[in-house]
Symmetry: C2
């Protein structure tokens, strides 16, 4: 009874497929038509064809094997279609439909529970947004792509109790060019819960890092047991940590969300990295999915802007890391091509007279220098001596040491940053965020 | 001996104007040609015309009155051209040229000092980037506009010890659409220093908020005396707060930057808001320049995404603010148009079924409700019921209470956020940053 078919089905039926463009059952069908390579069976008793595909009056009318069912019919007929799915031996079903225990309809929720038990159907939902998997084209997000962008294929897995939070974050990720392996919102968790999903992602080869947004846990002991075994970084953001927040969470997902210390303690026990904020989740996810772990805590700063070097030095020390010092031998090598007023003791400040070659050599030397564990590369692209090729030069350097880029600027900078990010070099706008990412890498390397 | 002519001269001469496109003396001249309405006199003994303007062999050759001189000739001839400026009775001079005390050339620095004393010339620099004033077109930033964007006219004033830091931040501001009144980097501060500039900005009608990046202070007592008198918010970011950072600062601006506690203490004494990071400087600058001060600490959260409501509630409590509760009367009014499953106790969660009208009414009621001091408006634009007109509806509401927008998403969201920002509604991507901005407003209202 695996979860695999939620993400990688050979065939899918959309139960409640619709002809009307703004309906959930149309948008989801269109998502599959646009991006999914397997067989698609729209189920709608009143339509003959939707989006060029033959419609089926019911699930039972489909002759071939169906791996995944997506249910978006009104709540009261969900039990009926689930029975049909059971008889058809569909082993994985996503119930998008809302209107169950989250609005007090426990009777309907229990009816669903019994049917999926009887037929051993692994179920996501009800009351969920479901799955987005850019690798296979499974996409049950019911906001159209014009409003909500979809991130590209990558290695960040995302599990969210809140459907809106998940979809909005996906939208943001697509803008920022963060790449993901799978995203799952699990709604009422009538069957599959956060622990099942974390366990699944821990074995998924495409996922390097697991992110979690959670308000309450369905089964705390199970969660701890599962999380402790995971060998990948898990980054968790907990909603409802304060009295006010917990009270909001109660009306939101019905979770008893309080007892923040207990959560934080459990996270620590299970080696879960707790983020304080949405932006931190992604800073950590990016760095942990893209960069190797450091051997120690010495950070070489390379900059062409003195002020940014000073601010970065401050954060390195505040966060308990150390400022690295390039060996004398390597400083001598560097001195041959940098201006006499450039500083090299501690921070390497190439100054506004910087060229692409100076950046390239500095990074190469830091990568091979035994005094350096990590590199904070402050790439300020405004000085005239830097050519756009600096990006290619940096990307060509093979490094087993983590490198973060700190780079602030306007359009020109954004263009070059995008190229770096697309090739696995995480870029940060502020010294604080860049150093926090390095700190997280160092911390995780010690677990 | 006012600083006014640095920002609002009727005439300017560029001493060292150049025909060569990549030279500082050309870029600065071009900045003035492109954006300045007064008279422009290029000075270059070897050229007849540059950029269509008649060239002067020397300052003394100019017949008319000159308000501002911009010097970008080689260091060794700076004293000579300063003498000429003095005789010509130019009262304000910006010396861009580097190569003085910052590289150990104290003799040349002293020569400059004596001449400007003798002629009572108010001087910015040497070794500085100088001034950018979008209101008047004064722009001595010597990075071309293709690499370094210029922010539009607004009310944030920026003073930076570090020239590169200032110019890079301006580039970033232009991308993010932050608007400024004036930006000044003052380099070696041979004459005009940070305190003079703060005092000037405190009296400048176009400036509502003063931002400061500083590594060391030239005269601590003067700084305290000046800052204490300022009736506008001052936001300061101090570089070189740790041992490592201070050591970087020493090689950067030659500042004795340490003694972080002394700085923080002084900032507190002078009612200066200390930011921890570059991004925080701008979050605070935006909110303090654009929004009114609150009467109390009760924040009404309005959202269409439950998870974001929970996270925002958490931050409100963590930051020592309070979650507001709309009066029963207003809740009844709201209930008439919102879905039955929307929550209104504490957080107003309009759910994914939100419409533009629901947002409009919620904000209107919160603005007039006596239980509400501030509004955290979480505008998630992804649900299909929201039309683009929601932005106009929100912008039309007259509010004497501060409103921050928290909004996360992709391209569609960015477009609508830009319109809000352009009309003075600060938008934040994460709950944490939005609430931190409200906290800063509240804190400043208590000073």
């Amino acid at each position: 009874m695996s979860l695999e078919k939620f993400f990688n089905p050979k065939s899918v039926c959309i139960i409640g497929a619709s002809r009307e463009k703004n309906k959930i059952g149309h948008i989801i069908l269109k998502n599959f038509v646009d991006g999914f390579n397997g067989k698609i069976y729209p189920v709608n008793p009143k339509a003959k064809k939707i989006l060029g595909l033959k419609c089926y009056k019911s699930v039972s009318e489909i002759k071939n094997k169906v791996d995944l069912g997506v249910v978006c019919v009104p709540a009261k007929i969900v039990p009926f279609v689930l029975e049909e799915c059971g008889k058809k031996k569909i082993k994985n079903v996503i119930i998008i439909t809302a209107g169950f225990k989250e609005v007090g309809n426990f009777k309907l929720e229990n009816a669903v529970k019994e049917i999926i038990k009887k037929y051993k159907i692994r179920t996501l939902g009800p009351n969920c947004i479901g799955v987005y998997d850019p690798h296979t084209g499974v996409d049950t997000i019911f906001n159209p792509k014009s409003r909500l962008g979809r991130p590209e294929m990558g290695s960040i897995g995302f599990v969210s109790q809140s459907g809106a939070t998940m979809s909005i974050i996906l939208d943001w990720m697509s803008l920022k060019n963060y790449k993901i392996s799978k995203a799952i919102s699990y709604g009422n968790a009538t069957d599959v819960d956060e622990s099942d999903l974390i366990e699944y992602l821990s074995k998924d080869k495409k996922t390097k890092v697991i992110c979690l947004y959670v308000e309450g846990l369905k089964d705390g002991k199970k969660f701890l047991r599962v999380a402790k075994k995971v060998k990948k970084p898990i980054i968790a953001l907990k909603g409802g940590k304060t009295k006010g927040g917990a009270s909001s969470a109660k009306t939101h997902t019905g979770s008893i969300a309080g007892k923040s210390e207990i959560f934080s303690g459990a996270f620590k026990q299970a080696n879960i990295i707790e983020a304080q904020d949405l932006e931190e989740v992604f800073d950590l996810a990016r760095i942990l999915s893209e960069q190797p772990l450091p051997k120690g805590k010495k950070v070489q700063i390379i900059t062409d802007g003195g002020g940014f070097g000073v601010l970065t030095s401050d954060w390195i020390e505040k966060k308990g890391l150390e400022i690295a010092k390039l060996s004398d031998k390597n400083i001598r090598k560097l001195r041959k091509i940098i201006p006499p007023h450039a500083t090299t003791k501690g921070v390497i400040d190439l100054t506004g007279d910087v060229t692409s070659d100076m950046y390239e050599l500095s990074v190469k030397l830091a990568v091979e220098d035994k005094n350096v564990d990590m590199i904070a590369l402050i790439l300020l692209f405004q000085p005239p001596g830097i050519k756009e090729d600096v990006v290619d030069k940096i990307l060509k350097i093979k490094s087993k040491k983590p490198i973060v880029i700190i780079s602030t600027g306007g359009k020109f900078t954004e263009k070059l940053k995008r190229k770096l990010e697309e090739n696995g070099m995480p870029c940060f706008t502020s010294p604080m965020r860049g150093v926090e990412a390095l700190k997280a890498l160092y911390k995780y390397s010690k677990l």
